[in-house]
């Protein structure tokens, strides 16, 4: 398999025609490195829940840096509503960094909660979960990445897996919930 993981041009929007020639990385190196990290965390923490937490935190730290990479290379502009944000993550973000796209589905009535469905997830290409790791959300790093990235553009979110092929489900489904939109205005009042 040689589909790249790095940033994959061309991107989806017409405005991205000028997207730079971004480097690609060997997919096996990427999946094997990720696998090694998860294994090491399991060895270090000996507790599946703790590993889920660590993966999420690691993803968060990646996300708060990656968002600028995304913004500088994708040429996307400010989203007007959360629905647009979800679409951009699914169609541009996933494409850029994982080489696949996700589908946005199952919106709630308020438009603050939706699912991102991944039919193809390159992180798990060679993975089978052993009996002892049934509670492991192997790809939890992705939830953290999205949470971290959105936090940097003023959206507090909660992101978690609800369906996982490694747990016997038919697809990968991530639930994305907008908790709070922190206004970007100058945070001081006149009389302070």
């Amino acid at each position: 398999m040689s589909t790249g993981f790095g940033l994959m041009a061309p991107l989806l929007r017409p405005s991205d025609a000028s997207a730079p020639n971004v480097e690609k990385v060997n997919a096996e190196l990427f999946t094997l490195t990720y696998g090694a990290i998860v294994r090491q965390l399991l060895t270090d923490f000996e507790d599946v829940d703790e590993v889920n937490k660590q993966l999420d935190t690691m993803g968060y730290h990646i996300g708060i840096r990656l968002i600028d990479d995304f913004l500088s290379k994708s040429n996307v502009t400010r989203c007007t509503e959360f629905k647009e944000t979800a679409e951009v993550i699914a169609k541009v973000g996933f494409k850029m960094f994982l080489g696949v796209t996700a589908t946005v589905a199952n919106w709630d009535a308020d438009g603050t909660e939706c699912s991102l469905i991944l039919d193809d997830n390159p992180l798990v290409d060679y993975v089978e979960l052993p009996e002892t790791c049934q509670g492991l959300y192997y790809c939890n790093v992705l939830c953290g990445v999205i949470r971290g990235a959105l936090e940097m553009v003023s959206m507090r979110t909660e992101v978690k897996w609800v369906r996982d092929v490694l747990h016997g489900d038919d697809t990968f489904e991530m639930r994305l919930k907008l908790l709070k939109q922190v206004p970007e205005e100058y945070p001081y009042k006149d009389d302070e």
Binding site: I67, D68, D69, L71, S72, R78, M152, V153, E185, Y186
Partner: protein, 141 residues
């Protein structure tokens, strides 16, 4: 030939100056002055949003004066990049976009850089100098 660009500033989302450098013989500032200018600009940028009579204004992008131009680019994450240059210098907006690209690559992707803290990354310095030197021939009047 003196560079068209006098200085480059980067301020984090809370208004702290995290990078400053002179690129010419003119308009050089000492540490105190660069800090003062950066915090002034941060406040003016915020005030300009309030001044706007229309909705959806995100602050001053260009300030033209008789002795200098100040061009500012604010990333959606709130980090501001701005250059002070010779009046009438062209191409500063694309220069700032390129600076943003270098910041992403050589600062944010450096695992030992602490987010929001002052930037001390040699590779970033080096590639910035190259970028601005390369631009010297391209931008300008």
């Amino acid at each position: 030939m003196a560079s068209n660009v006098y200085n480059l500033f980067i301020i984090n989302k809370s208004g702290g100056l995290i990078f400053y450098k002179d690129y010419g013989s003119l308009g050089r500032l000492d540490t105190n002055d660069s800090l003062r200018l950066a915090s002034l600009w941060h406040s003016m940028h915020a005030i300009s949003q309030q001044l706007s009579p229309t909705l959806g204004c995100y602050g001053i992008e260009l300030l033209e004066a008789d002795t200098f131009d100040l061009r500012c680019f604010q990333a959606l994450t709130g980090t501001k990049f701005f250059v002070v240059a010779e009046p009438g210098t062209q191409g500063l907006d694309s220069l700032l976009k390129n600076v943003y690209g270098l910041y992403v690559d050589y600062v944010l992707k450096n695992p030992f850089y602490e987010v929001e803290m002052p930037i001390r990354c040699e590779l970033f310095d080096l590639s910035l100098t190259q970028l601005i030197r390369k631009d010297k021939g391209v931008i300008g009047r």
